[in-house]
């Protein structure tokens, strides 16, 4: 029960910041895909950079555990591309569709309905996919520092430097 309450609080805070960052808009999401407005990329990379430092600090202290998704080439690449094609049509992702609805964007309802249908179709196809696509190129749960064989901070620090440089470039270009 407490877990559910924590979930609700986490979601409310996350939704609040998503709305404040104006990333819940079709115009912003499609704007990024058309290289006209990088708002969602700025939001995502800021989230990633801040949380990366915090979570890896907690990890080093032995407080937090990582929860990695396996790198299955077939599933991640094919699924990622298919998602992208649908995302460009819908203009919301699963999380932002609910947020978009929260700020009054009623077109998100059609997307949410479509996504529920899509989830049902996937559940039907899963036994087949599990034996085929999801067995193609399974590299397991790996991180970039593991692949490079270095300490994670040797990846985190350059990541943040590159992110800040990218942000400066976005601002210079007015994206």
């Amino acid at each position: 029960m407490m877990t559910l309450l924590y979930g609700l609080i986490t979601g409310i805070l996350f939704g609040f910041f998503l709305q404040k960052g104006r990333v819940l808009r079709y115009d912003k999401q499609i704007g990024a895909l058309l290289f006209k407005d990088m708002t969602i990329v700025k939001f995502m990379l800021s989230h990633i950079a801040v949380a990366m430092v915090g979570v890896y600090f907690l990890y080093d202290m032995g407080i937090a555990k990582l929860s990695l998704k396996p790198m299955i080439l077939g599933g991640v690449v094919l699924g990622g591309l298919i998602f992208g094609l649908g995302w460009g049509l819908l203009g919301y992702c699963p999380g932002t569709s609910l947020g978009a609805l929260g700020e009054g964007r009623t077109d998100a309802i059609w997307g949410i309905a479509g996504m529920l249908v899509g989830a049902g179709i996937y559940a039907e196809a899963y036994p087949y996919l599990q034996k085929t696509v999801l067995t193609w190129g399974n590299y397991g749960k790996i991180t970039i520092p593991q692949v490079l064989g270095v300490n994670h901070w040797l990846v985190i620090v350059p990541f943040i430097v590159l992110t800040v440089m990218l942000f400066r470039w976005f601002e210079k270009k007015g994206l």
Binding site: L4, G7, L34, G84, G88, G118
Partner: protein, 172 residues
């Protein structure tokens, strides 16, 4: 602060990153959203054919019940509503501005494309085992290889379909 109550995406994104840290610290959970759509679909199907759902491997893997992430997703809608109402940026809109400038203000075409896009997007995201939150944010912050490969593929697919839709500039 802008007139619509918006914040810099850097500030809002960074603060949302603190939410991720708090969630990992206190509950040990990483943000995600798309599994909740599977659970909801399962809960809806269970109303009509509970025996069938109980036998389906995907619904055995992802039990159709309300859990932490499902509450997060509901919370996102509430948090967004609160932020919008308190900053006077809540606005009922059935057709986005960008869409209207290109395809007109009719609701049906937008609804159709959003619905079909939703089906495709969710099928893909479940195959990839994560969405821009689960793979992009949570995978990205953990430096997961799968997170970055997924994120790149999300954008490649999105760039293709968005550019096909909006190719040739806007008719404004």
């Amino acid at each position: 602060m802008n007139k619509d109550g918006g914040w810099s995406p850097y500030v809002a994104g960074g603060l949302s990153g603190l939410v991720s840290i708090g969630s990992v610290w206190f509950v040990g959970k990483y943000l995600g959203a798309s599994t909740s759509f599977v659970k909801t679909a399962g809960m809806l199907e269970k109303i009509f054919s509970p025996e069938r759902v109980a036998k389906m491997p995907y619904f055995i893997k992802e039990t159709p019940a309300i859990d932490w992430q499902w509450m997060v997703v509901i919370g996102i809608a509430i948090g967004s509503f609160v932020a919008a109402v308190t900053s006077n940026s809540f606005k009922l809109q059935a057709v986005p501005d960008l869409w209207e400038s290109r395809f007109g203000s009719a609701v049906a075409p937008r609804a159709m494309v959003a619905f079909v896009g939703g089906i495709i997007a969710m099928f893909g995201v479940r195959l990839a085992d994560g969405c821009p939150s689960g793979h992009g944010l949570s995978g990205g912050l953990q430096l997961a290889v799968s997170g970055y490969v997924a994120l790149i593929c999300f954008f490649i697919g999105g760039i293709i379909s968005a550019n096909l839709l909006y190719k040739g500039g806007d008719k404004k």
